[in-house]
């Protein structure tokens, strides 16, 4: 059944037991993102030390897809160099915009591959990307802050 294809167990698990949720100190930059069609929002902080994503913490409200994808995000990027984290982000964005035509690479995206079914529902792609947009924005702010 279609519904299970979209809401894979992995997604529902992350939704019910999100990883890394809550806003924490220390952090270098924070980003607030909102999905203008449904009002879902996320506030996300990054802490980057020596170009490594040391912590990602977040809070917000949203559907299972946006909550779960942000939870998966923390698993994927925390502890990784910024460059590698961005590669994972690019792979995830590509997957989500692929309309279900792209075969995800589990080595890169780990639990993120569960979102392959979501990519077939264009209206939900924004949900899946909400946390990632916040991550991208927060990291670039943290880099801006450091160079400034």
């Amino acid at each position: 059944m279609q519904l299970q294809q979209m809401y894979q167990e992995i997604i529902l698990d992350h939704y019910k037991r999100p990883h890394g949720r809550g806003l924490r100190d220390p952090y270098d930059a924070e980003s607030f993102q909102v999905n203008p069609t449904c009002g879902d929002e996320v506030t996300l902080r990054v802490h980057v030390v020596d170009d490594v994503v040391t912590d990602v913490s977040y809070d917000g409200q949203g559907c299972s897809i946006s909550q779960a994808s942000t939870s998966v995000l923390t698993d994927l990027v925390v502890g990784k160099p910024v460059g590698e984290a961005f590669k994972k982000m690019d792979a995830f964005v590509e997957l989500m915009q692929g309309r279900g035509q792209i075969e995800p690479d589990e080595d890169v995206l780990e639990d993120g591959i569960a979102f392959a079914g979501v990519a077939k529902y264009p209206a939900r792609v924004k949900c899946a990307l909400l946390g990632w947009m916040a991550f991208k924005d927060a990291v670039s702010r943290s880099q801006g802050a450091k160079t400034a």
Partner: protein, 425 residues
């Protein structure tokens, strides 16, 4: 007109809407409960537009040839029938692309009064003046007023909403005062279904000499509405929500007001005299219809109005009343479901919004969609209202003449299914 008219024959009506027979998501019967966003079009409307395009299409008001005469007649004839449908004179009906343009037209035209002649003084607005709206407005009747305030230095104020989803009129006297220039409000909320007390607001506005702007997007499609009798100064609605084409809407304006309202969009067909040094403008409605208009769409909207008239607006209202009562009862009986808006059908139309404990509206919508049930999820372009009611978003089912009690049942079972799927029931 009688209120004891025979009920609608929904099965017969549905034959006019081929899209309602399609299936979605692997063979599920489509249950279309999103007419509040946009309605479907009967074959009669599609045929009217096609016939026009295949026999009489030409630029209106611009040619001296037979096609142009016929096109102009079809366009103006549609205007006259639409005017009649809403209790207006033909020259009180301005065609816009949608209701949103209608509100913007009034807001920008008022802003333009500052650089127009003395005859537009009635519309001047600036620092110290106030614009009053409500917290339950659709963004279309909210953001244009914020922007007008920002451009002119006027102040935006608003009525709040009670927890039951009614307008909070307790501060009527402190909100509508001598400083008030405009009172803009929805006839019927697109989220709550609430029908607002037009006469209370119109009377208050009149006492202080303020203009009234009625957002009639959710009322004109669903029951008899007579702007003349309501006494509003301006009103807007969209064709696509009332069986008509997209790309056409109506601004109604009282004749005396349109006569001196400055123009908004400028260009061809709205002028009187053009010189490089300056221009003068045509009388209404032409003054507000710059450029080649949405000709075939106006013809289509005329056909939609004919269709609605034949079915009967009283009967449509009665039919939706039955569906709404069933939905309020059915959903109200599901534990964990909370209706956003009045739970009785009194002064209430057929938009039924709700939240489900433990199931995000987007997820609920997805489950319903997988069952073939099309609803809307989110803030429905009424974000401040959702914030005021303490919910980030909601699920909205909205009904029209082609919906049946079966479909209400399908909705209620679908909601239970969503609860099961997400393990909250």
């Amino acid at each position: 007109m009688t209120t004891t008219a025979a009920p609608l024959d929904v099965t017969a009506l549905r034959a006019d809407f081929p899209i309602l027979s399609r299936t979605v998501r692997d063979g599920k019967r489509l249950v279309y409960l999103d007419s509040g966003a946009t309605s479907q079009r009967p074959t009669q409307v599609l045929d009217a537009e096609r016939t026009f395009l295949q026999t009489a299409n030409a630029a209106v008001h611009r040619g001296a040839h037979q096609l142009s005469e016929e096109a102009t007649d079809a366009y103006e004839n549609a205007r006259a029938r639409i005017a009649d449908f809403i209790g207006a004179q033909f020259d009180e009906v301005v065609f816009t692309k949608n209701a949103t343009e209608g509100v913007n037209l009034v807001a920008y035209a008022m802003g333009n009064a500052a650089t127009s002649g003395p005859e537009a003084a009635r519309f001047l607005i600036g620092p110290g003046d106030e614009i009053v709206i409500t917290e339950m407005e659709h963004h279309a009747n909210l953001v244009p007023w914020q922007q007008l305030a920002q451009r002119t230095g006027a102040t935006l104020r608003w009525f709040g909403v009670t927890p039951e989803g009614r307008l909070d009129l307790s501060d009527l006297d402190s909100l509508i005062t001598d400083r008030t220039k405009v009172v803009a409000f929805a006839h019927q909320s697109n989220v709550l279904g609430t029908v607002n007390p037009v006469s209370v607001l119109v009377d208050a506005a009149r006492r202080v000499g303020a203009l009234t702007v009625l957002d009639a997007c959710q009322s004109v499609p669903h029951g008899p509405v007579n702007f003349g009798a309501l006494g509003v100064d301006f009103a807007v609605f969209s064709g696509h929500k009332m069986l008509g084409p997209s790309g056409v809407g109506v601004l109604y304006g009282r004749r005396e007001l349109l006569a001196t309202l400055p123009p908004f969009l400028t260009g061809g067909s709205m002028i009187e005299l053009v010189r490089m040094e300056g221009s003068t403008f045509a009388p209404p409605p032409a003054r507000f219809e710059a450029g080649v208009p949405m000709t075939s769409q106006a013809v289509g909207l005329g056909a939609a109005v004919d269709y609605l008239r034949v079915v009967g607006m009283e009967r449509i209202a009665a039919h939706e009343h039955v569906l709404t009562a069933a939905a309020l009862e059915g959903l109200g009986a599901v534990p964990g479901v909370r209706i956003i808006g009045p739970t009785s059908t009194e002064n209430r139309g057929g938009a039924v919004s709700f939240v489900i404990d433990g199931v995000h509206p987007h997820d609920a919508g997805q489950v319903l969609d997988s069952l073939g049930i099309a609803v809307r999820v989110g803030h429905h372009c009424a974000w401040p209202l959702h914030r005021a009611l303490g919910v980030p978003a909601s699920v909205r089912a909205s009904f029209y003449l082609y919906n049946s009690l079966d479909e209400v049942d399908a909705l209620v079972s679908g909601v239970r299914e969503a609860q099961r799927f997400f393990g909250v029931a």
